[in-house]
């Protein structure tokens, strides 16, 4: 489909050129606002990341130890990264990214204009390997929905958001569940309905999105129809990619997501027994993940949780008890944090922080439970 304004064929080169010579990250941010739509297979990607220290400074330090990560413009927080991978067939990706501040403390935006291979095999790989210093933030279904609703409201009545494609997961019906098989089905779903409608339908069907692609369409008075302005794909793993309307996405969509993520990080901060003692804080109250339905009423719920916990990566696990109540101990090997997990009611998981319990480790654990078991509400234990 032809678009107006015309797609910009050399977007990556233009972005990299600006990243090299910009005087600040704000200048790059502003520059992107005026860019025409990206060419096909190229997108502006933004990763929402949590880092207790300045993320630009972190990558500047990391550049000293990470092969092929280079600071190209310290003033603008711009970096170049190249990765070669594969054994028989050596492949390589190369690109640039910049670090931008967000609306929240300790939350940053890592932005790149690139093709999907650099994003997936370069940026995401690099970010994943910086854990626990840098943590991608998980976005819940409700948070995605709220953010998209707010985007629609802020864009105004002449715009609408139309879902085009979703990657989703759903629980497999019990009769079809066999041991050693995943108890979730995943799939892709193409559609052309409003974002609100697809969220409603997913809720009804007990599905949750891994990502949702949508179009921003604008009403054209002259042609008396909606026309596509931009397309975007929002991932629950804390990143999004879009081809146009940079300022709309960064000013009208991201703040809601960043606020949700930041609130969770704050909830997860200063939870460890040792940390609280050293700081003179009273002992921590456990965290709870609550569900609106009694997911543990059926022993299958506990079995699924057990399987979720036992497949938690980069961690060691100990199962003390699994039925009728659940008690396990989990330790994050990268980070040194440890937690005890209890299920003592039909709709709640208790997470009891142990000696060390960092916000990144809690974020990773809770994201894993949300992603592989079921999304719930995480808060301090209320006893309700």
């Amino acid at each position: 489909m032809k678009r107006f304004p015309k797609r910009m064929e050399n977007a990556i080169e233009v972005f990299e050129d600006r990243a090299r010579y910009a005087r600040s990250s704000a200048e790059i941010d502003e520059f992107l606002t005026f860019l025409p739509p990206m060419p096909r297979y190229t997108a502006i990607g933004i990763y929402i990341l949590h880092c207790p220290m300045d993320l630009g400074q972190f990558f500047a330090n990391a550049a000293k130890r990470i092969h092929r990560l280079r600071v190209v413009n310290a003033n603008a927080g711009a970096f170049e990264y190249e990765r070669r991978y594969g054994r028989k067939l050596i492949r390589a990706v190369r690109g640039m990214f910049v670090i931008l501040p967000s609306t929240q403390n300790h939350i940053y935006r890592l932005l790149s204009v690139c093709r999907s291979d650099f994003w997936n095999d370069g940026v995401r790989y690099l970010v994943r390997h910086q854990y626990p210093k840098v943590v991608p933030l998980f976005l819940k279904q409700g948070e995605l929905r709220k953010a998209l609703r707010e985007l629609r409201d802020r864009l105004g009545t002449e715009y609408r958001l139309m879902a085009s494609e979703m990657s989703l997961k759903e629980l497999r019906p019990r009769s079809e569940t066999r041991r050693k098989l995943t108890e979730q089905d995943s799939g892709r779903w193409w559609t052309d309905r409003s974002v609100e409608e697809v969220f409603d339908e997913a809720q009804e069907r007990g599905q949750w999105f891994t990502s949702i692609a949508f179009k921003v369409e604008r009403w054209r008075e002259r042609r008396e129809r909606y026309e596509e302005e931009a397309s975007c794909r929002l991932y629950k793993y804390g990143y999004l990619q879009y081809d146009y309307l940079h300022s709309e996405f960064t000013q009208k969509l991201l703040p809601t997501l960043e606020k949700a993520a930041s609130d969770r990080v704050e909830l997860f901060t200063n939870r460890g027994i040792r940390e609280r003692r050293e700081r003179g804080y009273p002992p921590s109250v456990p965290l709870e993940i609550t569900y609106p339905v009694p997911v543990f009423e059926d022993p299958d719920g506990l079995k699924r949780l057990e399987s979720t916990v036992m497949t938690y990566s980069n961690a060691t696990k100990a199962l003390f008890h699994s039925n009728p109540y659940f008690h396990a101990s989990v330790a994050d090997v990268s980070d040194g944090s440890s937690f005890e997990m209890w299920v003592l009611s039909s709709n709640r998981i208790l997470i009891v922080p142990q000696g060390r319990s960092s916000a990144p480790a809690l974020e990773r654990l809770v994201s894993h439970i949300f992603s592989d078991f079921r999304e719930g509400e995480v808060a301090e234990y209320s006893g309700e």
């Binding site: 109250v285 330790a331 709640r348 142990q354």
Partner: protein
């Protein structure tokens, strides 16, 4: 495929862990129940899991000595309860005599309460027994106590504890015999009292340990997860063995574990736990499993790595290894000539 011998052990070990957790939770459930009865919470009710108390000169079992009940809880300057908990009892009732003796030891004007004189006017003994044994044990003790020389001076109360599943999990406390001071408390215990297990876990002062030795695997997991995993993040790496070397000094480790998960004995009357001997046993088990090396009696090096699978199962292997070591030598042909000679098999 898992070894069936190990599988049997795992179930037994999980039961042991379950019993330990149930006991420590039941003790705290009782304290919570008493605190709430007085309109307070546990934090504001003087109590202790493992407080050294002194018997008086007239104690029929051990006069003028130091004893440590499982827990004590003080309701006022006038009244305190001395708790002794048991998750299981031997099948043979003859062996219950020692448990009865223990209760009689607490049947005294114990010193060590949180009052200026360290005395309360009255203290009752509360025997917390898990559900399958409570009624029989209450009957046994009552019958024994009917004999002149076994009579209790004060009140003894038998409270059964069990685990009840409803919408939530509860610790259920039910009085199975004896007497306890305070009509309301007695009434409520006779009717059965549900204490939310979740609420106990969420209580900031909740203890995973008390002054009784836990199953070794339980303590090993606590050490591996709660201490070694953290230390391993900046430990020296042995590239050849692909292990992180976590150097452990036993006295320092004991202090750390007690501070984080048990009791440091900050007050002179408070016991320290988990005890040094238990932690040493756990470290020795790590050595046996090849997960640690011992440099000297107080220095160990933990060979840390990311163990896959269930740690309880992994750590339980030390028991089967023990069994192998303890097994009498089999009648098999020795591998070396020296052994053959020793066994008189040489030509």
């Amino acid at each position: 495929m898992s070894d069936p011998k190990v599988a049997i052990d795992i179930n037994r070990i999980r039961d042991e862990i379950n019993n330990y957790e149930a006991t420590v939770t039941a003790v705290q459930a009782f304290i919570d129940f008493v605190a709430r009865q007085d309109g307070r919470d546990m934090e504001h009710t003087p109590h202790s899991l493992g407080r050294k108390m002194n018997t008086g000169p007239t104690n029929v079992i051990q006069p003028n000595t130091e004893i440590t009940p499982d827990a004590v809880v003080q309701r006022s300057d006038e009244l305190g309860y001395v708790l002794e908990a048991k998750a299981s009892l031997p099948r043979d009732q003859d062996a219950w005599q020692s448990d009865t003796v223990q209760l009689r030891k607490y049947d005294d004007d114990l010193t060590g309460w949180w009052t200026p004189t360290e005395l309360v006017r009255e203290s009752d003994v509360v025997s917390l027994i898990s559900a399958p044994f409570a009624t029989q044990f209450a009957e046994y003790v009552t019958q024994t106590a009917s004999r002149e020389d076994w009579r209790f001076r004060g009140r003894v109360c038998f409270v059964e504890f069990s685990h009840v599943v409803r919408r939530k999990e509860y610790i259920y406390l039910l009085m199975r015999g004896g007497q306890i001071e305070d009509h309301d408390i007695a009434q409520r215990l006779q009717n059965g009292e549900l204490v939310s297990w979740e609420r106990l876990i969420a209580y900031p002062g909740f203890r995973s340990f008390y002054d009784s030795e836990p199953p070794l695997e339980y303590l090993m997991v606590k050490l591996w997860h709660g201490i070694f995993t953290e230390k391993a993040t900046d430990a020296e790496v042995d590239e050849q063995r692909r292990r992180r070397l976590v150097r452990v000094h036993l006295p320092a480790l004991v202090g750390e574990v007690q501070a984080l998960y048990g009791s440091t004995g900050a007050e002179p009357r408070e016991r320290q736990y988990p005890r040094r001997a238990w932690i040493k046993s756990a470290l020795d088990a790590f050595v046996q499993l090849g997960l640690a090396e011992q440099n000297n009696s107080e220095e160990y090096v933990i060979l840390f790595y990311r163990i896959t699978g269930d740690l309880v199962e992994r750590f339980a292997r030390h028991r089967t290894m023990e069994a192998v070591v303890e097994r009498p030598p089999a009648d098999q042909l020795p591998l070396f000539d020296e052994d053959r000679e020793r066994q008189g098999l040489a030509h």
